[in-house]
């Protein structure tokens, strides 16, 4: 709220429809310069559409797109100070690595020497200095990925747009590239807009995440916010593993689910409002029946390397996902325990603005109470 600097990219009530099909509905967003943003959502959620609108490949049906405060709706792709790393890389097969990276600078009309310096700099940034003279067909998927990044950055863009660039790589390479992309972004200090359907990737890399579904931004916030305070069923389910149960907020800081009352840390709702309760599997612990807040029966377990993923069923018939460090016995009855702050409450149809307002209100109450 104290930020007065102009956002580098701003969407004002942007919508896109094909015939009667609404792809994007009234999107508002503001991206600050120099940050790593992620648009996260399942396929068809509109995240790549937003990216293509930013780059200029798609025209909007209504609304304005602003770049540093100026409307750029009608600025063509080639005039925008942004470059894209495409999902399938889009490298030119008729050129070698050097010429691919040199494409942007040579279009700009830089001298031969400047082009060579730029390409050398970019290839060393992506650790491909030795590969300048290779043909694209001679490169592995990971190397092609790096060439695509170098080619996009060679134009000195203010914003780098990345369209699921890591999805074709294997797990280990993907992890490696996540760190490298983050490092490149921080070193260059430019704005990255990264599109992915992989929540783990989004949480690991981003300063700020926009969670998309059905052409609507469901929630935006820091990775911690999104993970700890999902606003609705979709976000809770899409980001990480969740146990989602129906419950009733009996009063402030008191929630009722699975037939019992639990102390929690949420407030600001109507008395006896129907809500959804979220408990993350890693926040749950198995204990003795006496120490448990609930009693569950172990139904299934699978070994995941660093933990056991356990499915347990409580006496109401609800299924619980639990991540436990110790092995359990299938069919055993054990206690299930969690802390009041591990219980996250979601109201039905609460918008982001309502959510933020409520949070502020009852946090004020807490402050007042302390005084």
């Amino acid at each position: 709220m104290t930020n007065t600097s102009t956002p580098i990219i701003e969407f004002k009530n942007v919508g896109l429809s094909y015939d009667d099909d609404e792809i994007l509905k009234n999107i508002d967003l503001e991206l600050e310069a120099g940050k790593f943003y992620t648009l996260l959502g399942p396929s068809g959620s509109g995240k790549t559409t937003i990216l293509n609108i930013i780059s200029g490949q798609l025209k909007v049906t209504h609304g304005d797109i602003l770049f540093e405060g100026n409307v750029i709706n009608d600025v063509p792709v080639e005039k925008r100070r942004m470059n894209t790393v495409f999902q399938d890389y889009g490298l030119f097969p008729n050129m070698n690595v050097f010429d691919n990276v040199a494409f942007g600078p040579s279009i700009k009309g830089l001298s031969k020497k400047e082009i060579k310096n730029k390409v050398t700099e970019m290839l060393s940034l992506v650790k491909l200095s030795q590969y300048a003279d290779r043909e694209i067909t001679e490169l592995s998927g990971g190397q092609r990925q790096r060439v695509a990044i170098a080619r996009a950055l060679a134009n000195d863009p203010d914003v780098l747009l990345l369209d699921e660039p890591l999805s074709a790589l294997d797990y280990k390479l993907r992890k490696e590239m996540q760190y490298e992309l983050r490092e490149i972004q921080q070193r260059l200090g430019i704005t990255f807009v990264f599109v992915t359907h992989d929540q783990e990737e989004a949480l690991a890399m981003s300063d700020w995440i926009y969670v998309m579904n059905d052409g609507v931004i469901q929630q935006n916030g820091s990775p911690e916010d999104i993970y700890d305070e999902p606003i609705n069923h979709f976000v809770a389910d899409f980001i990480g593993e969740s146990n989602i149960l129906d419950g009733i907020m009996k009063a402030d800081y008191l929630v009722h689910f699975t037939g019992k009352d639990f102390e929690n840390v949420d407030a600001g709702m109507r008395p006896n409002e129907r809500v959804e309760v979220v408990l993350r599997p890693e926040d749950l612990d198995l204990t003795t029946i006496d120490n448990g807040k609930l009693v569950v029966t172990i139904d299934d377990q699978s070994f995941r390397g660093d933990y056991y993923e356990i499915t347990a069923i409580d006496d109401d018939g609800n299924e619980w996902q639990v991540q436990a460090t110790n092995k359990s016995k299938i069919g055993e009855r054990v206690g299930l325990t969690f802390d009041p702050e591990d219980i996250h409450i979601m109201r039905f149809n609460e918008s982001e603005n309502d959510f933020d307002a409520r949070l502020e209100r009852y946090e004020d109450d807490v402050d007042d109470a302390k005084k």
Binding site: G90, N94, N96, G104, E138
Partner: protein, 276 residues
Amino acid sequence: MMPKSKKQRQLFYVVPYSIWLILFVFAPLVLLLFQSLTTSNGDFTLHNYAVYFASGTYLKMTFNSVWYAFLITLITLLISYPTAYLLNQLKQKQFWLLLVILPTWINLLLKTYAFVGLLSKTGTVNNFIGLLGIAPQQLLFSDWSFLLVAAYIEIPFMILPIFNSLAEINPRLEQASHDLGANKWQTLRRVILPLSMPGIKAGIQAVFIPSLSLFMITRLIGGNRVITLGTAIEEHFLVTQNWRLGSTIGVILIVAMVIIMILTRDRVRKSSRKRG
């Protein structure tokens, strides 16, 4: 046991075409070469080649053939590339392509006669300009009418390979080029044109080589104004009955075609480490 019988079966499949190839491709070629290199007694001689290369008329005809074939190819290429490019952007591209190809299903001679009807002194074109008060013009038996009809006939053979090579280009590359700052023209010149080169080369082969030996269109449309190797061969075989010189010109034409094939063949892009 298995591989052998499989191989035998494969051999069996190529028998019909092999017979065709031997009877109608290899045998005529051998006969042509034999005739061009022998006297009427069957003795070996280079006399026919000496006559050919010593004669200014034949060399001029050769130059003419190559020149006309070049012009026909150039005209077709200049018309076909933009057309193929446009076709590729259309929604119903297969339908439009079909319309372009449709004329090739009609007999060549029929199409040529249709042009005779259009261009003759009492033909459609002259009737039309007559309405404007212009006296009938000599349209047939001219260089340009020959080029017009030849280009008309060859255009589909140029469009098809270019269209195919353009259709194979990943649309993402055009997108990437714009993204990197290139405008439409720069994208065409630096990305689309190089990537459609195989199609252009195939089109040139398909048009230039047959154009070298055109004689029917030459006769009907060009009359005596256009004399090429094709018409010379026809003359030697059908009129002067000098089969040996006719064969010699035939052999020279074949050699010229092979040279064109080699020049326009599709080289595989090799790794060049020149900058290393």
